[in-house]
Amino acid sequence: MWPTRWPIHVCAVHRPGRWPGPLKRGLALVGVLAVAALAAPWVAGDPLRIDLTATLQGPSAGHWFGTDALGRDLGSRVLHGGRISLAIGLLASTLSLAIGVPLGALAGFRGGWTDSAISRLIETLACLPTLLLAIALLAMAPAFLNGIPDVVRVALVVAFSGWIPVARYMRGEFLRLKKAVMIDAARASGATDLRIVVRHLLPASLAPVLVTASFAAAAAILVEAALSFLGLGIRPSQPTWGRLLSDAREQIDQGWWLAVLPGLALYAAVLGFNLIGEGVRALLDPRTRGA
């Protein structure tokens, strides 16, 4: 479970006025997946329809991705699984931003004991791996979480520690930016703290924070797939990528498409969001610009 906390960087050098390569490739991957997932109910058949006369068939014109042990269309299951994965990715990264941006900003701007308290909270949560925390949280799923839909519950569990990188980044940005001359100038002309934060610091740091949001989406999709793979999280009746891979594990000696194709979809989504983050970083970083 490596990519959840610290992404590695491709050395991207790009010309001014052009989109960086990783950004283009990432947007293409995520775009294709998103369009396919959104269109799933219209273009793909019923992912739950069982056809015992056509079990474990390889990819063909009728079933592009083949069928599973119950004769269900794997392509349709992958597309419907994509809806869940992308929904969780978007929801969890939005939640991570909603928690991480204010907390990180507060810690970076106020400093002192506020910073100590928030930093201590971050360190506390960070000493458990995201996946472990998510498993433990789902196992203990408090009673008040039972009523809400699976997708929201899993997104909440992922965001429970997913906000940490966002907050860390935000804190660093604020610590750096608040020493800038423009802030001194704003203060000298009588701006209040609130005005400095809202008008100067937030706009200046929000673009880089989008980078962390993209990585957070990739991490959320990965953690959700891992949870479904382990049989936790989304209800088993729903086809999710992790669930499809878990089914493939039980029939490891059956058709190759069962393990390869759903995995490729998951891989493309994780890679796509990571590349988008990478590309936005390259776009914003003056060191990789030009050359």
């Binding site: 479970m1 906390r5 203990m140």
Partner: protein, 314 residues
């Protein structure tokens, strides 16, 4: 220096207390009680048994008292009793620990032993075709989800080629046979290998100023000699900080790898405890993995200060 270690130890201990308190509080939010869990599917408990179990898990005490007593027990080496089979949690963990430690020790060794030469090779000719394609390859490898990678490897080496066993530990108690360790170790280490080799490359390149390279080249030193003389000693310092990050990543990987390959280690015990809502076991493993992570960070911190006088004085 001593002060630094002492401060670090104190904040580490505080963090552990906070983590366990957090998990403790979350457990209380969970629906149902341990008594209900033991009753599940079995015959109902008698009043005496009920009273005994209530005392065992201190269910009659308020939450903060439960936590303080649990913390006191932990200092005595007692992690409480499992809800599932009522055996001591410490014993259950000790039984499972050797497998996880073996897997992770081999994986860690492989990561360090392979990624340093790979990273150095990439740093020899930065920007060359080999370096660029190597970068793309590590990037692609790094993003492969462990459970998918494991399935593909099983398919290739066990089902298709028949070279390696699919899963299990080969019918032995404790540490599995070597052939049963190959695929799990590969799955556990490829992500770290990709990450650390890029890290090594970046650090080597950053730690040697361009002028140093130029003047050393002018004196007739080979690129390899420059890396060796000027690069490694400087680059070793930031590499130490990895220790703090590798441990949690490896443990999270263990949960998945042990589940896929059906190796009864600590990661599997954690999953079992989660499925069965065996809270004392969950809490115990949380404590162990948190301690290991914080120990890694402390080690990295102290080693960093020892290696770099600037940090020590700051």
């Amino acid at each position: 220096m001593l002060r630094r270690v002492a401060t670090r130890l104190a904040t580490g201990a505080l963090t552990l207390v906070l983590v366990t308190a957090l998990v403790f509080a979350l457990i209380q939010l969970a629906p149902g009680s341990p008594l209900g869990a033991t009753e599940d599917g079995l015959k109902p408990l008698t009043a005496d048994e009920r009273a005994a179990l209530t005392r065992l898990w201190r269910l009659d005490l308020p939450l903060h008292r439960q936590y303080v007593l649990w913390l006191g027990d932990v200092l005595d080496g007692d992690l409480g009793r499992s809800i599932l089979d009522r055996r001591p949690v410490a014993t259950k963990i000790a039984e499972r620990l050797p497998i996880t430690l073996t897997l992770n020790a081999i994986a860690l060794f492989l990561i360090v032993a392979l990624s340093i030469p790979i990273g150095a090779a990439a740093a020899l000719n930065p920007g060359s075709r080999a370096d660029r394609w190597g970068g793309v390859a590590t990037y692609l490898l790094y993003a492969v989800p462990v459970f998918w990678g494991a399935l593909l490897l099983q398919r290739l080496f066990s089902v298709w080629l028949g070279w390696l066993p699919l899963y299990g530990s080969g019918g032995v108690e404790g540490i599995p046979r070597p052939s049963h360790l190959v695929l799990p170790v590969v799955c556990l280490s490829y992500g770290g290998l990709a990450y650390v080799s890029r890290f090594v490359r970046a650090n080597l390149l950053e730690s040697i100023p361009a002028e140093t390279v130029l003047s050393a080249r002018a004196r007739g030193m080979s690129r390899l000699a420059i890396l060796y003389r000027h690069g490694f000693r400087l680059a070793a310092v930031p590499m130490l900080t990895l220790a703090g990050f590798l441990i949690p990543a490896l443990f999270a990987g263990s949960v998945i790898v042990e589940s896929v390959f059906q190796l009864p280690g600590l990661g599997w015990l954690f999953l079992e405890a989660a499925y069965e809502r065996d809270f004392p076991v969950l809490l115990g493993i949380t404590l162990i993995s948190g301690t290991a992570t914080l120990a890694g960070i402390l080690f990295a911190d102290v080693a960093y200060a020892l290696a770099d006088p600037r940090v020590r004085r700051a």
